[in-house]
Amino acid sequence: MPSIKLKNISKYVCHDVSLEIFDRELLVLLGPNGAGKTTLVNVIAGLTDYKGSVLFDDVPVDGLPASKRGVGYLFQDLILFPHLDVAANIAYGLKAQKRPVSEVEARIDRLLQMMKIKHLSRRYPKHLSGGEKQRVALARALAPSPRVLLLDEPLSSLDAQTAKYLRTGLKQLQRRLGLTTVYVTHDLQEAEEMADRMAILEGGHLEQIARPEEILFYPGNEKVSDFIGAPNILDCDYCHSLGQGVMEVGCGGLSVVVPHDRDSVHRIAFFPRDVYISETRPPGPGVNRFKGTVTGIELADDAVRIELKAGENNLLAEIPHHIFEDMDLAVGKEVFLILKLRRIRVYENRDL
C-alpha cells in the first residue's frame, strides 16, 4: 500500500496544506466543521481540482481521474445506489473495472461473509438499518481492492452504541488489510480511539500532526489546545508508586495521585470539566484535594471557566452555569479543588 504525500494543496478553505500519510497508517483528520477536512479527502480521491500536488509512493497522481486512483471512499452519507440490491452495490466497482464474472462473484461472497451481511445480499438499501448500510458501503468501497481507504465521518449518522461497535471493527479491518487510511471526524474521542496519528485542521490550516497522546500532552499551539478541550497539563517533578495501580506524582508543589503503575511519569493532563470546585473543605481523605485561589472568571455560553492558582500551577476549571450561580466565587477567593482520579491522563515518555 502506498504512502500519500500532499504538497502545498490549496482548494476552497484549504491553504497550502502539506502532510504525509505513512504506508499502512490510519491518519485521522480532526477539526471543527468547515475546517477543510472533506475538501482534503476529495483532493486525495481526485474528486475535485486543486492547486498543489498529491503523490502516492512519491509518484504524482494529479493527472489521474478519480476512477483511476485506486481509492476506496466511504462517504459521510454512505450514498448506496438505491436502485441496486446489496450484492449489486458491492459488485459495482468490480463490474465497472470489467473483472471476470467468476472473480466478481467470489469476491462479493467473501466480502458478504467478512462484513457478516450475507443474509442481506438481495435486499435494497431502503430496507437496511443504519449499521447495515454502513457495512454494505464499506464492503462496496473495499471490493475493488483499493490501495487507499478514505473515510469521511463514516459513523456520524449512527447511534453511539452502533458507532462504537463499528469503530472497533473498522480499526481491526484496517490493520488486517494494511490499508493506508484517512479517517475524517470532528469527534476527539473517536479520533483518539482510531488514530495512529492525528492531523488537526482549523480554518484550512494544518495546525499539528502527531500521535494522539502527543497532541494531548504537547498541543502545538493555543488553537489545538482549545480544540481538544484546553487540558490542564502539568510537568512532574517526582513520582513514586503507591501500589494498587496508582502513583503519587509531584507537580509544581501539588502532590497528585494518578492511575498509573509503571516506571515514570513525565506529564499529567486533565480536562477543565474534570476539576470540581468547592467553597468548603470537601469530606474524605485529602487525596487529590487542593487549596487554590481564583484568579479569573470567564462566562462562556456553555459553561463558566474558572482560572485558578494551585501551588505553582495555573489551572482551568469548568463548571455549569447553575452550579456557578449557587456559589459565591470571586477573583481572589480561596477555594478547594477536587480532581477525578480516573480522568487524569498520564504521559510517561520523555523522548519526543
Binding site: G72, P82, G93, A96, Q97, K126, P144
Partner: protein, 253 residues
C-alpha cells in the same frame, strides 16, 4: 386478498353503472327535448356493435393507433436521447436550451397549418404532429430527471472506477427513470388527444375523421362511440406506463 381486490374493483365500477343507468333513463323518458340529439346508451352500444361488425370502427381505429404508436415511440425515443445528452452535458444544455424553450410552448396542433403545407396531407402529417407532441415534454422530463440525480452518486461511482458512459447508463439513467416515466405517461394520453384533433381537421381516415363524418350525417351515436373509444385508449395508455413504472422502480423506491 383476491376477494378484497374484486370488491374494490366492484366499487369502482358502481358509479359508472349508475351514470349509464341515469343516461339511459333520461334518454328513454324523453326528458331532454329533441331525443334525436340524445340517444340512449343502449343505442350507442348497438351502434358500437354494428360499427365493429362491418369493420368501419376497426379500420379507423387501427389507422389512428398506428399513427399514435409510430409518432409517440419516435418522439419519446428522440426526447429521451436528446434529453439525456442535454442533462448530462451542461454545455450542450446551454447551447440547445434557448432554442428548445422557444419551440416548447407552441401547442402541437399549432404546427398543423405549417406542416400541411410542408409535408402535405398524407400519413406523415399526423405522425409528425404526434412526434412533436411527445418529443418536447419527454425531453424536458428527461433533462430534469438526469439533472436531479444527486451528484454524490456520480462521485461514488467515479471512486469505484466507473467511466462516464458507465456512470450514465448504470447510475444516472436508472435513477432518472421515475421522471422519464412521468413524461411518458402524460404524453401517452396526450398523443391520443392530439391525433383525434389532427384527424378531425386534416386527415380523411382515423377515429377523428370518423367523428367528423358522423357529425355531417348527424349520427350522435357514432360520435359517442368514438368518444368512448378515445377515453378508453387515453386511459389504458396512461395505465400501461404507470404499470411499467411500477415494474421498473417499485422495488427500490
Amino acid at each position: 386478498m383476491k376477494r378484497l381486490k374484486q370488491l374494490k374493483l366492484g366499487w369502482g365500477i358502481l358509479p359508472v353503472v349508475i351514470f349509464l343507468a341515469i343516461w339511459e333513463i333520461i334518454a328513454r323518458l324523453n326528458l331532454i327535448p329533441g331525443q334525436f340529439f340524445f340517444p340512449p346508451f343502449s343505442t350507442v352500444v348497438m351502434e358500437f356493435y354494428y360499427l365493429t361488425a362491418n369493420g368501419v370502427l376497426g379500420e379507423n381505429f387501427v389507422a389512428s393507433l398506428v399513427r399514435v404508436l409510430i409518432g409517440f415511440c419516435a418522439g419519446s425515443v428522440a426526447g429521451i436521447a436528446v434529453g439525456t445528452v442535454m442533462g448530462w452535458r451542461e454545455n450542450i444544455n446551454k447551447a440547445l436550451n434557448p432554442v428548445i424553450s422557444l419551440f416548447y410552448p407552441i401547442p402541437a396542433l399549432g404546427w398543423l397549418p405549417l406542416l400541411m403545407l410542408w409535408i402535405g396531407i398524407n400519413e406523415a402529417l399526423p405522425i409528425t404532429i404526434v412526434f412533436i407532441c411527445s418529443f418536447f415534454p419527454v425531453l424536458y422530463n428527461t433533462v430534469t430527471g438526469i439533472k436531479n440525480v444527486d451528484k454524490d452518486y456520480i462521485q461514488v461511482a467515479r471512486t469505484l472506477g466507473a467511466s462516464d458512459v458507465k456512470i450514465l447508463t448504470t447510475v444516472v439513467m436508472p435513477l432518472a427513470l421515475p421522471n422519464i416515466f412521468t413524461g411518458l405517461r402524460l404524453e401517452a394520453g396526450m398523443a391520443w388527444r392530439v391525433i383525434i384533433a389532427a384527424e378531425m381537421v386534416a386527415i380523411p381516415t382515423g377515429i377523428g375523421a370518423l367523428m367528423m363524418r358522423a357529425e355531417s350525417l348527424i349520427r350522435i351515436d357514432i360520435i359517442i362511440v368514438c368518444l368512448i373509444v378515445l377515453a378508453v385508449m387515453c386511459l389504458s395508455f396512461e395505465k400501461f406506463f404507470t404499470y411499467l413504472e411500477e415494474k421498473a422502480t417499485a422495488r427500490w423506491r
